[in-house]
Symmetry: C2
Subunit: 471 residues, 2 copies
């Protein structure tokens, strides 16, 4: 497309609302996607708005509730229908006062620390104990039972940047299971090196699990520069004990209400199973939930809007802004439980930041190869390759997995993602609008194709109960 | 130099202490500088050690005193002579508890804030008031007297990265004078956008001045992402008042003791005025004083050590690790007052991080052109050009300026400096050892030449009272 014709299309598209009485030619789906690449404003408006007017949306808190109210108003203003806040109850944990970690001896200084989700409080007076260092979860596992009694375990990891984010699986256990293992061996508390790839004094929080029967202990993540400093201290202490004072004051609030926000672009044939686009609205408290996952909600909602610009889709497109993903997928589970009897045509999720999409995977490459190829061909112009992985869907697509349904993964570039993930630095300025628009363009193209399919996505066979398409 | 000959020289140099009984050929000054470029370990040892074993060194506090004790022990271990801690009294300010800035309405969320040096406390209960935004200090200055009564002034700036750091002069007044101007116009408190070029949730603190007769008010710096968020709020609020709760609890401790640490590589002719190498040992509390200015002290001390490796210099080389630079140059003033009667041959300072040196300036380019040219020729191989600016010396060279003496500036690349300056992120991991070594190499070369000059540096004329050089 030439620049001139693109500008003409853009003018057409943007002028449309103002000239509502004048029927104007609609862009094709391809044109709508191309316009989004150059000029989408809705995705930025969403993520700019929610990070500015709401900020963090810690699951189960009033901040998350304000986020839901804000998102519903936004969806309404953008013309979505059947908007709802579907409530559920969840066990809620809050972080308390800012954490403190101070080396008492031999090298007094303070470290930046954040408590991990679902961990216990030290009490406001804190605890002071000797620190025992482990280079990895494997080294911690090898420590004898009881050997950590009265001690603080420190567990390191070595994570590097990867485009596909795969080192999260490699380093993640430091956060996911180390505190539980250390608690089982008698540790008073656990301190970890952040699971993250940056070098800023901003710890990476996140959830942690304690094994059945093991009471949660206090646990926190040090920023990477502080973890490196602690590791240097062990070298310089040369056997002298390193003593740390730790003050972490999170609280469990018991059951509180959370909710999933849904909204629809109603299709021409609402009796066909809808296309489900998922993201999550909650975010960890230290940041503002820009890349995790304001951007995801921005991308999916904007794609739905752009698809409709090319004309009402055949199938309904439903957006699911899930609640309480970070702290245990409570929203995803509640949605599946409530809607398991309503078939979903295909599920897609955006929850990996706002950087560009580079690969497309589906779970119907072998069962519906024509559709897989059609999508692959359509997104190639955006620099998106066709992958051979079997799409597994994101965390908030429980319902689709529970229904054994069709899934598409639009893999984003995660190189920068774990610099920011679960830190205070998850803020709007980290979003590159050019890459955000590429996401919207690819999603517009893919969702538009999927919403236009009248056969079953997973198999290509006719949808049994579909009535005739409404004109 | 070939790699093989370099390795041989390195081996020679590093082996020397172990083979003290075997006289070994000394490297030339040029060789000593070349070895430093490839293999210096002293500078890293200093900055790694002080950031690990001491951490921040807020002026006038016990942390600064621990820093002095640590530095004296280090100088002693490295063979410096005439090591001293020269005490002086100073008015000391401490930051209190971590600051808090919360938007109360219309968009409740918390911002990262740090108090500015020499500002007042809000009291632990804080203050809550409407925020008035100013795009710049000029805009603030234009506000009518009394117009800020009962308000919090917010003052922005627009700073970009510059190699020579010149935008610090452009943006710096936001921190230096805005709080004073706002206080004069009746403001309860002032909040500024950090004077810094990064996008992390780490505010840039630093000193601020209140005009004669204006009582200090509370004042703090927001991190840049938070400042950007506040500015977006003003747009979205569309005229509705923005109310902020501010809790900043710094305290003035009255007069406390600080000190300057000095040490010498004694020259062959100690009666000649010494070459003075300056840095500062104190640092702002949020970071660990790695780039500001642990690196500077590391570079100058390591250069002195490397010069001596090529044989005792003609002139004494004195290092001055000044105290309390950040909070008002108290160490620099005290040093000048105490030693004004002892002529300094030439002064050089390192206080701009640890990135590479790219330009050499002196204040004797026209008065002693031969020496200027000699130095320029000697540092060219390290990628250092000869500049035409008249060297003004760093903040801790008051004595040289008071004596109207000779000055050399070795200009470092400041592109990254204001990403880190006065923030929690001033940590060891920000130092690139390759660039640190380039600094040491250039300093070794320049200091070695200067310490070998038997004529007055500023003029090239014979030093009047110099006795014959001792052999």
């Amino acid at each position: 497309m030439t620049k001139a014709s693109l500008l003409a299309l853009t003018a057409l598209s943007l002028a449309a609302p103002a000239l509502a009485n004048t029927p104007s030619p609609r862009p094709t789906l391809e044109q709508a996607a191309d316009i989004a690449l150059q000029a989408d404003v809705d995705a930025w408006d969403f993520v700019e708005g929610i990070t500015t007017e709401v900020g963090h949306r810690q699951a189960g808190t009033e901040a998350e509730a304000r986020g839901r109210a804000w998102a519903m108003a936004w969806l309404k203003a953008k013309g979505f229908q059947n908007i709802a806040d579907e409530p559920y109850m969840m066990p809620t944990w809050v972080p308390g006062e800012p954490g403190r970690a101070e080396i008492v001896s031999p090298f007094p200084q303070s470290f930046a620390i954040a408590p991990l989700g679902d961990t216990a409080s030290t009490g406001p007076e804190g605890i002071t104990a000797q620190v025992v260092m482990f280079r990895s979860v494997a080294a911690l596992q090898a420590a004898p039972e009881g050997s950590l009694k009265g001690k603080i375990a420190y567990v390191s990891n070595a994570m590097t940047r990867t485009q596909d984010g795969s080192q999260y699986g490699f380093a993640g256990p430091t956060r996911w299971v180390a505190a539980g293992i250390a608690a089982k061996k008698g540790a008073l508390a656990t301190v970890i090196k952040s699971v993250g790839t940056d070098d800023h004094r901003n710890p990476h929080t996140g959830g942690t699990d304690f094994p059945e029967g093991v009471a949660p202990t206090p646990a926190g993540a040090l920023s990477n520069p502080d973890a490196a400093n602690l590791e240097r201290m062990f070298k310089r202490a040369d056997g002298r004990p390193i003593t740390m004072k730790l003050v972490l004051t999170p609280r469990f609030l018991g059951q509180t209400q959370s909710g999933n926000v849904v909204g629809e672009i109603v299709g021409r044939n609402p009796s066909l199973p809808p296309v489900l686009l998922a993201c999550h609205l909650d975010s960890w408290w230290p940041g503002t939930g820009a890349i995790d996952d304001g951007a995801g909600c921005a991308i999916i909602a904007s794609a739905a809007i752009n698809v409709e610009r090319a004309g009402p889709p055949l199938r309904t497109i439903r957006v699911l802004f899930a609640g309480a993903e970070e702290v245990g997928l409570f929203g995803s589970a509640a949605y599946s439980k409530a809607h398991i009897g309503e078939p979903i045509a295909v599920g897609l999720e955006s929850d990996f930041g706002a950087d560009r999409i580079w690969r497309f995977d589906s779970n119907f490459r072998t069962t519906n190869p024509e559709l897989h190829k059609k999508i692959a061909a359509a997104v190639a112009r955006f620099g998106v390759s066709s992958g051979t992985d079997v799409a597994g869907g994101g965390a908030d697509l429980n319902i689709v997995r529970d229904q054994k349904g069709a899934l598409v993964d639009l893999q984003q570039d995660g190189t920068r993602y774990f610099d920011l993930h679960h830190t205070p630095d998850d803020t709007l300025d980290k979003i590159d609008i050019v890459q955000l628009r590429q996401n919207v363009a690819v999603w517009t193209q893919v969702v538009g194709i999927l919403a236009g399919e009248d056969t079953a996505i997973l198999t290509g066979s006719p949808v049994p109960s579909a009535p005739a398409v409404m004109k």
